[in-house]
Each structure stands twice: as C-alpha cells, then as structure tokens.
C-alpha cells in the first residue's frame, strides 16, 4: 500500500463480512524453467527450498519461507518475501551452476490481489471458466485460467476461501475494477 509505483495504490479496498478484496504489497516472485523431467535440477532446487517441487498441475508446495506453484511440467513459480528474493536467486544460481535452466525475476511483472471471504468463489465464477468443484478445492492448490479478459494464476492459501490472484501488471487496474464491481452485490 505504501509502494508509490503500484497501479492499485489509489484503489479502495473492500472489507465486509463475506467478501474482502485487498492488494498485497510486492512479493518476491521467481520463475524457474528447466528441461523436461530434469531430475538433477529438481533435486537441487528441492534440497535448497526444503521441500519437493510440485509434480502435477494444480499443486503448490510450501514452507515458512517460500511457496512454489506448478505452472507447467517444466515451469514453476517460487514466491518469497521480497527482501529474501535476491538471496534466493543468488543461492539457486550457485547451486545450479552446471545445469541447464532459466531463473527469471518476475516480481514486478505480476501484481497480487487477495480475494477472501465466503463469497469468493461466487465472485470468481462470474468471470472464470474453471469448475470450482474440481479445481482449487483445497488449501495449497493453484490453477491458471482467466478472469474476464485477464489471464491469471489463482493460488488458494487456506481451507477458508482465501485466494491470491496473480495478474500481469498492466492488467491489474482492469482486473481490480472488475473484481470490485463483482464484489459489490455482496458488500453490506
């Protein structure tokens, strides 16, 4: 909220008994791409992060320090606190020295919007074609899809309905307006 460069800084957050919409301050986001099924790289990254990387679509692995979402069979998104990001990149680059991989800092490429409250799925369903009975059912699951016209990654953080929506910087303003409009029928 105190970041002067955010496209959402002038927006009003929504707080109500059944729906909340807030903008999350910058989070470190690192995109990792590897060769298909390169177990050597997977093992080295897992060893550093301290957990197994997600193997299938929709899986998220996490511990206190970082959170890794499955983006594709050879692509992952590692999220961490922004002040830890540079160290993560430096350490991973050192550990993967001889390997074939790409590590890209995409922290400023995506904006995180947090949607929470018991009406969250109803709001998402208005513009997202995902079947929520099948996808994003539990904590630590993710899905890539679109909401209205914006391509997003939706990450479920809790058994309660708490969703982090990652959207491209240039689409954030549009998606925020769309979401806050969709929330309006549930706010008291």
């Amino acid at each position: 909220m105190n970041n002067t460069n955010s496209p959402l800084q002038s927006k009003d957050q929504i707080k109500s008994s059944n729906i909340n919409l807030e903008y999350m301050d910058f989070i470190g986001k690192i995109n990792l791409r590897i060769r298909d099924v390169d177990t050597d790289v997977l093992n080295k990254v897992s060893a550093y992060l301290g957990y197994e990387l997600p193997k299938n679509s929709g899986e998220v692995s996490t511990n206190d320090e970082s959170r890794t979402a499955w983006l594709g069979p050879n692509e992952f998104l590692i999220q961490c606190a922004e002040d830890k990001k540079d160290k993560f990149i430096e350490d991973l680059n050192r550990n993967l020295n001889e390997c074939f991989y790409a590590l890209t800092d995409v922290s400023d490429y995506y904006i995180t919007i947090r949607l929470s409250g018991e009406k969250s799925i109803e709001v998402l369903e208005k513009g997202c074609p995902l079947n929520f009975k099948e996808y994003l059912k539990n904590k630590n699951t993710c899905a890539q899809s679109y909401i209205s016209k914006g391509t997003v990654l939706i990450d479920r953080l809790s058994e309660d309905q708490v969703f982090d929506i990652l959207i491209r910087w240039s689409f954030a303003d549009y998606l925020w307006d769309w979401l806050s409009d969709s929330c309006s029928e549930f706010t008291n």
Binding site: S57, P73, L130, Y146
Partner: protein, 91 residues
Amino acid sequence: MFVIKCPYCGERDQTEFSCHGEAHIARPENPETLTDEEWGEYLFIRSNKKGIHYERWTHDHGCRRWFNVMRDTVSDEILATYKMGEEKPKS
C-alpha cells in the same frame, strides 16, 4: 459447456485453448535442395480432411503447453488429446 482435456491440466473450458492447424507435418531436412513447388507444398498445402483430423493446440490460459488433438471434423468431437512427441492414436 465445451470442455477439452489438456494432457497436463485436465478438463478445461474450450475458451482457454486455441488451435494452430494440422499436426505431424515434418519440416524437410534439407530445405535448400527443394524446388519452389515442393517448398510451397510443405508450407501451404494441408490435407483438409473430412473425418478424423490431427491438430496442434495450445492451452493458452493454462499451462501454455502445446499438445495434439485428434478431432472429427464432421461432428467436431474431440476423440483424443496427447502430448507432443507421443505417437498419434489410431483412428
């Protein structure tokens, strides 16, 4: 709802996908030895089948991977989807 099964993500709405034309067209190994006609044949001529057709698709709003689809062009029914590099299913 028209649902397509991505080989990586599972069943998703068709609006997340796009089609990119016929699959299993191999690029000639030595293009410089081809005549203009042969090169034109490779670039532009497609089978345009009525019936079972093999196509390349991408899951644009999902995992963004390419995969192949076996589709009946008469009924528009998708009979199979399979990963790039896998053998095409028999029709």
